[in-house]
């Protein structure tokens, strides 16, 4: 484990985080077992292990996720990923593929860690962008068409993530 100088090595116990995450894992187990009652023996053990792992790997107390922010992000993501799929499908079928690929360097304003990892992965599913490299505060993207407003799209994505995770963008 990485030693973090500003944080004690053992995460503080948080009852609400344990209940929320345990509940979420129990729901996933219920779905995976397709609602069968006879699997809850293994299920209870699995849920307990998953909750423990989650609390260790992502200790609570780093700020709660904003629920309206989460809904906003989910809606934005669904619309954008549908648009992204339709756009790339249209280009694949066009007889003369009108691509204008380029590598684009953009500044990232989100704080390091969870928020940036989420940004990289979200952009991979958004229209026209694939994350190539993150070095310091610079994000390198591959774009299929540099004539499209890529910078604007990245800014919007950053704003949604910032609102959801309650961090500065």
């Amino acid at each position: 484990m990485h030693a973090r100088p500003d944080r004690s090595p053992l995460p503080r116990f948080s009852l609400s985080a344990t209940l929320w995450r345990g509940g979420a894992f129990a729901l996933i187990w219920w779905i995976l077992a397709e609602g069968r009652a006879d699997s809850w023996g293994i299920g209870a053990v699995t849920v307990a292990l998953a909750t423990t792992a989650s609390l260790r790997l992502a200790p609570p107390g780093q700020g709660r996720v904003s629920f309206p922010g989460l809904l906003g992000f989910a809606a934005f993501f669904l619309v954008q990923s549908a648009w992204g799929g339709a756009q790339v499908a249209a280009r694949a079928f066009r007889s003369r593929m009108d691509l204008a690929p380029a590598l684009v360097d953009l500044p990232v304003t989100l704080p390091a860690g969870m928020a940036r990892i989420l940004l990289l992965n979200t952009l991979n599913l958004m229209p026209g962008t694939v994350s190539v490299e993150l070095r310091g505060n610079r994000l390198c993207l591959h774009v299929l068409d540099h004539r499209l407003p890529v910078a604007e799209e990245v800014r919007q994505t950053e704003a949604h993530i910032a609102r959801m995770l309650r961090v500065a963008a």
Binding site: I28, W30, I31, L32, A33, E34, G35, S81, A82, G84, G85, A86, Q87, V88, A89, A90, R91, A92, F93, M97, L99, A100, P101, A102, L103, V104, D105, L106, L120, N121, T122, N124, L125, P127, G128, V130, S131, V132, E133, C140, H142, L144, H146, R147, L148, P149, V150, A151, E152
Partner: protein, 115 residues
């Protein structure tokens, strides 16, 4: 055919269409980066539509949710794998095909790549 079955069939057909588009893109696009666009975006949308179409035919709520759960899990894996491949290709010095040398920056953006 009930309206629900018709909707399910429509979603499945649309999903198959996006899978076909993803595969056509994989074959036709010029380089590894552009092909990642086809795979991560078209195929994931196709999977979402197919999962939704199949979930409509599920026997009960839990079985339907289980099919729907496949989608976000594959999205996470696919996004992470795409980044890993693109990053490694960039490290190996693979330049994007067809990147025009002096491209006009769109919206105050620095451009790299190309010869």
């Amino acid at each position: 055919m009930t309206p629900l079955e018709a909707l399910s069939a429509l979603l499945l057909l649309a999903g198959a269409g996006f899978y076909l588009a993803g595969t056509v893109g994989l074959l036709r696009f010029p380089d590894v980066y552009a092909r990642l666009h086809a795979l991560t975006k078209a195929d994931n949308l196709g999977l979402g539509l197919i999962a939704l179409g199949l979930a409509l035919q599920a026997e009960n709520l839990a079985a339907g949710l289980k099919i729907l759960l496949v989608w976000p899990l594959v999205l996470v894996a696919s996004a992470a794998v795409s980044f890993a491949i693109a990053r490694r290709a960039h490290e190996l010095g693979i330049a994007p095909a067809g990147a025009a040398s002096p491209v006009q920056p769109a919206g105050g953006v620095d451009q790299r790549g190309g010869p």
